[in-house]
Assembly symmetry: D2
Homo-oligomer: 357 residues x 4
């Protein structure tokens, strides 16, 4: 099941070291100006090889549109976006062909499917997330015209936590830091881990603003539930919080409830969602990434014959997957919201009559 | 969208103060012994009105099977479970008919649908979760015969955190505590909040054991992602963690990776899931519930005419929704696993040939 | 898989001789006046036991609303409609407990599920179609307010074919005949078969008028394809035609193409659908029903031990299932259109902006 | 909605005159040998430009695998098949840029989406069916290893109907005729129409053999219903019959019921399906295609400004779309069966236990 969404849907395909990765977007409304430059700029934000905080793999990540766009506009038919793999070095993986890398999907894919594409993790590689970013960019184009905007950045690295979040700052920071006052310490933590042939975890914070009220569908396609699914499904994510998140479980309701005024909510512990639906306030998400499992320290593992082995990885890997992961999280959030925007149409008879009559 | 799951699916219906709540289970395999006593015992674990730590609303929560079972066995056709509402007191809600209760779904439902069933929150009431527990019980019956078991309990209340988890203890505890050494402090925190006409948040921890390897479908129906969706979709949940969870974002990979041995994993920071698939180890989830928003302290709010009002709630409410919520979380987890068990069949040609030839 | 539709969805449940049959409608927009009298009147059109042309089974088919309606209006939450079984005579089926009735689902259900509810066909009974009619009635209520209307009747019985279709006539005919000039011959064909302990096949013709242009979604949820699925899925249906249907395969394009004028199409060979989408003209369907397989003549069959047996059926059965089947076909068509109406919203950016901005 | 299937799914993309058409297959089991030569041979059966009975458009229709296959085997991940368009002549369509071609999707696409890709019908072109054939070929590879085979051919052209069907003959016939005794007359009918700048309709008959009993899911994913959807969704199809089809509506049950013996059914009026499930007998389908709407005779139509125009088409078109359509029908049938094979797993507890324990 490689499709995401119900109405604005994305199906991704491709492996780390295959010919290409990409996605088919089905459900994009007709008449949307498809700004390729914007899609490419989103891919560039996620692109590896840009500085010392990311993997040295140098993928151009050039997007090509195969279908669904005519004379610059979406036609209502499936939009296919393809990114050809250009810098794959499959040779790096020959030595782990039969070995399970700790913390990786190798073990589970092999046991599920009876075989695996061992080159760079194959389909389970974070490289697939480039397709998500391309797809998310189209969702953002649609949502921008409705006044809905997305922002994200890094709020914590290895336990070094941002105190004040400035969503304008990440574009100036190589680690997409949200708080300049801790940026240097966060950078240092990444480089120390890298120099120790190790990696570190981190936290991304997202903000979605401009949402209409009422997004979220019934009890099993709630806005918060689907956002949680979208985030937890990103490689390396181990926890998701909405609004006050884990802290809310330590509070009393008199502290956690957001008073309502004729001009809006007085606080936003809810993170913009009540009863699984947007309440018009900013949606706030925190997404926790584990440290990149690929490290260059000897590790204890097994091979496909269930024999003990010592794994010594080669290759090129991010010392902190959360950094580029924040861009992926933003893209997935955009896909969720675009889907919810379409699903929400038809909630009321008056809305339907207004549309048709 | 009131359906959960892809192959083992549950569609729930009903409102807090309507005639009934219930669910239709579609996809239950034929030939499963449907043990009504077990289903009822699961509902009894969630049932309100049993002690001072829960709401005084006294629902019998008696389940009735309307379809899908013949001579004690599932027939492969939809199983309908109905629970009639017997103790609803709609009158309690007349005073909040036009008012939005802070922290509740009233505001969003009204703005989405243009009207709302104000009696006890209508469809958004936690009462609907009884249908989930009934449905989850059938999933458990199926999974038990495959050796898959579920356990849960309360690991934290109002910041008082369990140190050692004993999954056998909750059945002896009125607050389903996992750690007897902090149980009394947790109880006290609940009662203090209750006496202050307030409520507290809490955390449930779940353990799923006996899973085969490889559950989880591709990149957009990963086991962890769907569990996160299932948990975040439960009323009042604001954060979900898997395995090491938020802590993993503070670690290095050398600390967080689980070494693999021929006899299994040496540790379980992964929480039993790698690459979105079960790795054969226990799946561990932590589910964070906000404090019950219904409190008996005056709160600032608005009404349907967007005028300022002071809300003074009446009615009967749980002082800590996490307690009974832990049973709901367990039920949702069972539904996820049952679905994944069915979806996983057909992953390999050898499995298909074994089934048909 | 007992759910129909993507956005306006119906999940049905129940067996012929169980406690009840019914459906859950998920996706009904809020604010629709739910006219119970109309729903009941639709059920009455399908109800058995009304005259000599239908089975003598006397079901009251009284619908009860369990959820989703508050103060007469839909609330946007699932609407559950239940019909309790009152006249089931399970004893009639004891003699066929282990026997496969020719032309029935007994054989396939037993081999799929390893067991079967033999009472009246269990879930495979045409009794389940009462739930479809109840659900379709709600769809009709929604569509009527958009100016979309449905009509149907019997165009052929046992090869006696209507020449001129009068969609106002069926309500006056006990066999829902569309052509008064052949009605008596069609009635005679039914009664002759009945007197011979046999049954006959027939054809229903449907007309859907008032459709907006453009209903139908992409290439795999085309309007004609989904209508075909809906019709072929009705018990006993063996063929479906749209517009000119089988006749179109005998024509040249110069005969079959419908010329377009500024005031509409000059002819309607297309049956109101081009490229899988409604073109604004009436949609015309012909649905072919085989003769009711339950007959009272000795037939050659086998039992669950694969032994030869002679089947001698008892019970009460329609001598021509097409008659009441036409009402079911109309109901299924209404469900398809309601779904398409919702899905079509969001096809264009201009439509979305009009809805939200 | 450009996805077909529930578990073995195909999402197609691309337009007649865009860069490429193709499909993503999601749900293909791992370990299937992907025989590219076979896939190409299937495409060659559908390929245009091979003789005087088909369009002169010369597409090479060379398939390329972009993902999902490693070392010759499916890996359980999405398989992407792409066919680049090489012989598109967009210039042929400049004169119909603003004109609606009678019998085509131009009218409905324009009114649904507010714009259209007018080059060769864009997405609505029968060219998209090449992607279906590529996808269907993979389904056939899977099913062949389970002993399930597909055959098809032309049973009627312009009312000239085959009397005896020989499913081995079509491979020797340029019009895929099933009955050599009428082949020449059928050919003549096509060429006469072609010479008159017109086109003719035709009928394809399909046979699926080797099916296990019990394929088909519940009441709303019945085998016959989904086959009907699959067939009616093919360009130009206007009617679908199963087994005895329209003829069954003219019979009595004593004629139409198939007697059951310990060695199988005595006849096959049912067309291999009872109660929406396969009964182990051959599944027989008849698919009725209207004449290709593109003809070179002046026709009455309108343009996008709703003005009367006379359409005079240019370009290259099939004089009888049923011929190549029969290959598409076979491919769609294979996709349906592959899906049903996967869905059927997990129908019984004993099957599940056999799979896992």
């Amino acid at each position: 099941m490689n499709r995401f969404g119900e109405r604005f849907t994305m199906t991704t395909f491709g492996e780390s070291h295959g010919k290409a990765i990409g996605c088919v977007l089905d459900g994009v409304p007709a008449g949307l100006a498809i700004d390729e430059t914007f899609i490419q700029s989103e891919l560039d934000r996620r692109k590896p090889g840009q500085n010392e905080f990311a993997t040295a793999r140098k993928e151009e990540d050039k997007v090509e549109i195969l279908s669904g766009v005519f004379e610059g506009l979406s036609t209502g038919t499936p939009i296919t976006l393809v990114i050809y793999n250009t810098d794959q070095k499959s040779g790096d993986y020959t030595n782990v062909k039969d070995i399970f890398r700790p913390g990786h999907a190798d073990f589970t894919y092999f046991h599920k499917y009876g075989l695996r594409d061992y080159r760079g993790g194959g389909r389970s590689s974070a490289r697939e997330t480039a397709a998500r970013v391309a797809g998310g960019a189209v969702a953002k184009l649609m949502l921008r015209s409705l006044g809905i905007e997305f922002a994200s950045g890094i709020s914590a690295i290895h336990g070094i936590v941002a105190q004040n979040l400035d969503f304008n700052y990440p574009k100036n920071s190589p680690i997409y830091a949200l708080d300049p006052s801790v940026e240097e310490a966060q950078k240092a933590a990444i480089l120390e881990a890298k120099n120790a042939h190790d990696s570190v975890g981190g936290v991304a914070t997202l903000k979605i603003s401009g949402l209409p009220m009422g997004l979220g569908q019934g009890l099993y396609y709630k806005l918060d539930a689907v956002l949680a699914e979208a985030m937890m499904g990103i490689n390396a994510v181990k926890a998701v919080e909405i609004g006050e998140g884990i802290h809310s479980a330590e509070l009393r309701a008199s502290q956690n409830n957001d008073p309502i005024t004729p001009h809006g909510f007085k606080s936003n512990h809810a993170g913009g969602i009540l009863g699984g639906m947007s309440n018009g306030d900013d949606v706030i998400l925190r997404v926790h990434f584990k440290p990149t499992p690929s490290i260059f320290i000897d590790q204890e593992s097994t091979n496909t014959h269930n024999e003990s082995v010592s794994v010594s990885l080669k290759g090129r890997h991010d010392p902190c997957v959360a950094v580029r992961g924040s861009v992926v999280a933003e893209s997935m959030a955009a896909l969720v919201i675009a889907d919810m925007i379409l699903l929400n149409m038809g909630s009321t008879m008056s809305g339907i009559k207004g549309y048709y009559l």
